[in-house]
Amino acid sequence: MKPHRALLLFVVLVLSGCSGDGAAPLATLERGLPSDPETLDPQKARSTQAAEVLRDIGEGLLGYTANGELVPAAAAGWEISEDGLSYTFHLRPEARWSNGDPVTAGDFVLGMRRLVDPATAAFYAQMIGAIDNAAAIVTGEQPPEALGVTAVDPHTLRVELTRPTPYLLALLTHPSTFPVHPGSLETHGDAFARPGRLVSNGAYRLDAWVPGSLVSLRRNEHYWNNGATAIDAVNYHVLVQDTSELNRYRAGELHITSTVPPDSFAQVRAEYGDQLRVAPYLGVYYYGFNLAKPPFRDNPRLRQALSMAVDREQLALSVTGRGEAPAYSWVPAGVQNYEPPLMSFSALSKADRETLARRLYKEAGYGEDNPLRVEVRYNTSDTNRKIAVAIQSMWAEVLGVEATLINEEFQVLLANMRDAEVTQVFRSSWLGDYNDAHTFLSVLLADSPANMPRYANREFDSLMLRAAEQVDLVRRRLYLEEAERIMLADHPVIPLYFFVSKHLVSPVVSGWGDNVLDYHYSQHLGLSAQQ
């Protein structure tokens, strides 16, 4: 190709790129999203990113305020039977789908049946396991129609439970329990959630979705509370790299970021002051022990020694340094109706802690001549590496432990944790699905698939079961707290810190509320004119 022809080609290509995507003169909120939703099918979705978008376009029976208080949403009210096993919801007769069809109790029945139907292969199928027959439907022993959710009339929905589940109301805010528009499901089958087809019942509707780039929402004119929605359009920008997201915020192209890059945190705090919103978040960062193999099997002293040798204050202050709270329990503070018991040594001074740790280490059969050699596995990330290095040196300093750090790709680490063959100590975390201690404690039940340490304690399990059967909230709480106390004394995990949510929020955004769930519905936000 001759150079001038190449030049011509180049000019043509540049000009063809000028066609543009059409300007949006609407009041548009620009938000960052750390990855694409894997789907906007409420029952099939799994990630927090998908849930974030789904909370904007859909609506469950209940919802949350900007500050994280549970409030009626698609249901105007409800009654709970005395035994706590039957819930009757009264739907808003004025609720409408984005195409104008009324939202009925049958649509909720359809959604929840779909959730447990094996054919849907939904990730959150176990979420409503407390509802009558749900478990048997998931395994295929019963048809989806057997689910204990019934439409009494178009605006009355009854949910029957096998055991009292005080957190049921919180569960019903989760996108997996959202209703499905029956007409769409009939016409498009499982592909009903694609742009151009998706009919939803939330404050917004899906306008366009460019995978890897942008999810665009528009105001749902038929939404029952449309008058209260201030912002006309929402753009979720898919920005995988947190530094790219920060740059776009700096360039004025974003109103809200999904996070703040760890390395730039101090600089961002100095630069943006109040625009940086940091709040406690329902999640725990922990190191787990592989209890199925030596050296940690049947060795609680060694586990406790390692746990005590970690200076959590130091870790949260100078290693992560973003306002994380040091963790002395498994359930984070701030969970509703729960006061987490703290580990026995939390009140000791650093020196006392270390002395006791050394004694336990010796009792477990280790010492200077016979140091513990242990492998610590973590998934590759800057923060994880820094924490691992810090813990390695704390263990070496206090106990003389020789720890080898092994970083692995996330999927590799997951596979290793599940096999519990090669792992000794591993990094993991747990994020709450709803605001209740159960979402954390149930992880460590002997038969829980998420129980990576392979912790098994009959006493813990039976206390959890008694809590599950309890209608009385105070007694339930006591059982749960006792269960956690027993578990903490066994040291199957080293809780290191509780997460915080970190966002940059532009001063033009109003209505922002910090909450432990880190839910921020666009319908609660406003944009002032000065943008």
Binding site: M1, K2, P3, A6, L7, L9, F10, L13, V14, S16, G17, C18, G22, A23, D36, E38, T39, L40, D41, R46, P118, A119, T120, A121, A122, F123, A125, Q126, A135, T139, R194, V210, P211, G212, S213, L214, N235, H237, V238, L239, V240, Q241, T243, S244, N247, R250, A251, G252, E253, E409, F410, Q411, V412, L414, A415, N416, R418, S429, P449, A450
Partner: protein, 307 residues
Amino acid sequence: MLRYTLLRIAGAIPTLLIVIALAFLMVHAAPGGPFDDERVLPADVEANIAKAYHLDEPLPQQFVRYLGKLLQGDLGPSYRYRDYTVAELIGAAFPLSLKLGAMAMGLALVLGVAAGTAAALNRNTALDRVVMAFAMTGISIPVFVIAPLLVLLLAVKLQWLPAGWSGTSGATRYLLPVVTLALPQIAYIARLTRASMIDVLGQDFIRTARAQGLGGATVIRLHALKPAMLPVLSYLGPAVAAILTGSVVVEEIFGIPGLGQFFVRGALNRDYTLVLGIVVFYATLVVAFNLVVDVLYGVIDPRVRYR
């Protein structure tokens, strides 16, 4: 030439098959699966999902299933983008990557050849040294360093250009990614052109042309440029490969929904079908492109004969 082309196409089929088989084995050999997560699923739920995606079948059976679908032109559904098929994702992403790549390539050719020629004609002068110094820098600095620097300067500080892709429109959003992508290639092509041009300018036929009284510019344009382009032309294949790999980084940094980004995300998420689909697509493209370059070579250089 037709016989040669047909033979090359026939030879490409086993190559592609081997690539597909290797890629299939490798994505499945990587630990973990597309649906693994810290929130481990109950066994029943996991079984339902594995069944829905045929992941419960033995690997050979999955491979045969995949090949069968592939022969019908079906790349399967994406595991990560559950509302989309792999073909849809590639169909949306490839034109964008192609556009970016073509623009970067065009820019690299124009600037690279021009700078290289200028340097060759002014050999050992200040101009030559400046151009070659820039070229050396361009080759040495990786894309993932240049891109954030350009963004920081032109988008964040000066706010002349958008810092990202999504939600912006117009030609300006192409500028940073294209320049970032083209820079190393401009540098490489400039160096190639300079060396080759110096070589050609010393040849007898150039002296003959000059002896016939042709002007300097005419000699370059009519006689020197074409033979001097041969090494650049052979470099086009590797250059396309370099732009493809460079696009992976550039697309990720600028958040451009191109093939590169899907490839990386697909690999990390163990989106088997998406990764395989892109490998098959790229492999076909590379084989085809090499073929085209080989055929073009004969068109430009009459000394090359096909057998």
